[in-house]
């Protein structure tokens, strides 16, 4: 039998046949590794989770035309600069002055589906328009016109060409069904929202985008990079960040990550103390065995390698348990705090195991070194 095989046989026998003793040590390591792995999962998932939360506060990037307006192609090009999985939504807006009951109103043409993604905080009483001929009325506008959901309204537009001195002005007119009343708490409540094609039809002009709102789930550094790339690569578009959103997101993230990091360090220290205490108890309890091993010829190096082997095996088992339980713990936190699923990070499994083994080894070092001080003569006379 090779020495290595006997070594493994000894350390596994020590763990398996002294289960109750070792269970305490394993428990302390596993708990430490669980909290550690869980907190690290949360630490790395917080930006994604918080990003998703912050996306509820609206767009964080605004695109405007460098010379007034830009096209849908320019917007599509700009969007290619942002990774697909990070782009939550990109809503184009075009604004024109229309008239309802002869009173001027600002009409906004947009992509309703994208607008819902970039402005999730918009409250719609009724439903969002889903087809041409449907319109969303801002709450203030609806109150002044006394419009309700389901009303049929007439929207007029005086073409630009008609204003150039023609005596008889013929307005473009379209009829819309009010599908919902929009509350935002902002100026949007004075506008009416319709599809881009309806507004183009009403105004009789071609496609045009005045401004686009983008919601991107990324850190402020990445956002700045995307914004710079868009401005540099898409000539017709100028991108800027919505500072109040990105800055507060960065601040909250930094503080939250700092807090998680601090708790992780404290847990790490507590785990080390716990493991060191347990290993000290294990060594003290096994002084006679150490004395015997030394009496029958074990060198200090052998004693250290055997105890370290046991520690490493405990660390390995604790690490595996911790990686599994840590994911469960982090998933629960993610579900309860952020109401979303945690993304599994495969790399965290080997990292947890290695860290667990390292911490166990490090905290066992002192008690194991003291094991070599045991006098082999201890075993004589049954001392």
């Amino acid at each position: 039998m090779k020495k290595r095989k006997m070594f493994l046989r000894m350390i596994s026998a020590s763990l398996m046949r002294r289960r109750s003793r070792m269970a305490v040590a394993l428990l302390s390591i596993a708990i430490g590794a669980t909290i550690l792995s869980g907190l690290v999962s949360i630490y790395y998932d917080v930006p994604r989770q918080m990003g998703a939360q912050f996306r509820n506060y609206g767009a964080n990037m605004i695109l405007t035309g460098t010379s007034g307006s830009f096209t849908a192609d320019d917007l599509a090009k700009a969007c290619t600069e942002i990774p697909e999985k990070e782009l939550v939504g990109a809503a184009p807006y075009r604004y024109d002055n229309v008239r309802i009951r002869n009173i001027p109103v600002v009409a906004a043409g947009t992509d309703m589906e994208q607008a819902q993604k970039t402005s999730p905080y918009w409250m719609v009483e009724g439903r969002w328009p889903s087809a041409d001929g449907e319109i969303l009325i801002g709450k203030a506008a609806a109150e002044s016109f006394r419009f309700r959901e389901g009303d049929m309204i007439e929207v007029d537009y005086t073409p630009e060409t008609a204003k150039q001195g023609e005596e008889t002005v013929t307005d473009n007119t379209l009829y819309f069904t009010v599908t919902g009343i929009l509350s935002t708490g902002g100026s949007e409540e004075n506008y009416v929202y319709m599809s881009m094609t309806d507004l183009e039809k009403l105004t009789g002009t071609g496609s045009r985008i005045d401004v686009a709102e983008l919601s991107v789930s990324a850190s402020s550094d990445l956002l700045s990079g995307y914004s710079d790339n868009i401005s540099a690569k898409v000539g017709a578009v100028s991108a800027r960040l919505v500072k109040r959103v990105t800055a507060s997101e960065a601040t909250v993230l930094t503080k939250l990550q700092g807090l998680v990091l601090l708790v992780t360090i404290v847990v790490l220290a507590l785990t080390m103390i716990c493991v060191a205490t347990t290993m000290t108890a294990v060594v003290t309890e096994r002084r006679k065995e150490i004395g015997l091993r030394k009496a029958i010829g074990a060198s200090d190096k052998s004693i250290i390698s055997e105890f370290m082997g046991e520690s490493m095996l405990l660390g390995l088992m604790g690490g595996v348990l911790g990686a599994v339980l840590g994911y469960v713990f982090a998933s629960q936190v993610s579900r309860n705090v952020f109401s979303s699923e945690l993304s599994f990070r495969p790399l965290l499994v080997p990292v947890t195991i290695i860290v667990s083994m390292f911490i166990t080894g490090l905290s066992s070092l002192m008690p194991i070194r003291s094991a070599t001080d045991v006098d082999p003569a201890l075993v004589l006379k049954g001392e």
């Binding site: 000894m10 020590s14 046949r17 065995e289 015997l292 030394k294 029958i296 074990a298 075993v379 049954g382």
Partner: protein, 234 residues
């Protein structure tokens, strides 16, 4: 050349002379008993002969090497290669089986060999108990595992410290019989004991008192067998 020779060996702790100018020789293949009351210096002598302690004065020659001048590391090597230890309390590793306990001595000495360890257990009559844990063995069986562990590396000397101290008469006889067998195979035995019956089985008995060698008795009628009817102290 004697296998073991102590020349004017003293071990002094402050004012206390645990061993005081002791000289003795043990020849290869000899069976020697050491007796004496508590505090007579038996343990100190065992520690020194067993390479677990060094004398304050004097020389200890083991196989021609003065072990009193060796480093702690060298003493570990000498102990591993030349000495087999048998303890009163057996001192088996409680989570290793009988055969694994024997293999433990092989592990520190050279290469563990399960077949050889099983043969050693068979020699002490425990072939069928090889896979048992110490807690599943009787005191006598545990001591026999301890003997198998001591002889597995073919040591120059077997040093037994009160080997029958925790055994009943039947097991005492079994252990003494094992010693007789080892002695007949040429193994050198040094047995520290309180028990006169065990002591006088040896070829020679040394009596220590207050750290000095007080008496030496040669067993003219050496048979290697224990005699329970003879209670005469040495």
């Amino acid at each position: 050349m004697s296998l073991l020779e102590l020349k004017n060996v003293s071990k002094i702790y402050g004012e206390l002379h645990a061993l005081d100018n002791v000289s003795l020789k043990v020849e290869k293949g000899e069976w020697v008993s050491i007796m004496g009351p508590s505090g007579s210096g038996k343990s100190t002598m065992m520690n020194i002969i067993g390479c677990m302690d060094k004398p304050t004065k004097g020389e200890v020659l083991l196989d021609g090497v003065d072990i009193s001048k060796e480093s702690k590391k060298s003493l570990t090597t000498i102990r591993r290669d030349k000495i087999g230890l048998i303890f009163q309390q057996f001192h088996l590793v409680n989570y290793l089986t009988a055969v694994e306990n024997v293999m433990l001595a092989q592990y520190y000495h050279s290469i563990p060999d399960e077949k050889e360890a099983l043969e050693a257990l068979a020699r002490v009559g425990l072939a069928d108990r090889a896979k048992h844990l110490p807690s599943q063995l009787s005191g006598g069986e545990q001591q026999r595992v301890c003997v198998a562990r001591a002889l597995i590396n073919y040591p120059e000397i077997i040093l037994a410290d009160e080997p029958t101290g925790n055994l009943d008469e039947a097991n005492e006889e079994v252990v003494v019989e094992l010693f007789n067998k080892l002695h007949s195979e040429g193994t050198t035995l040094i047995v520290v004991t309180h028990d006169p019956e065990v002591a006088e089985v040896a070829q020679r008995t040394l009596v220590l008192r207050s750290g000095r060698l007080a008496k030496e008795k040669i067993n003219e009628n050496f048979t290697g067998k224990i005699r329970f009817d003879d209670q005469t102290p040495v």
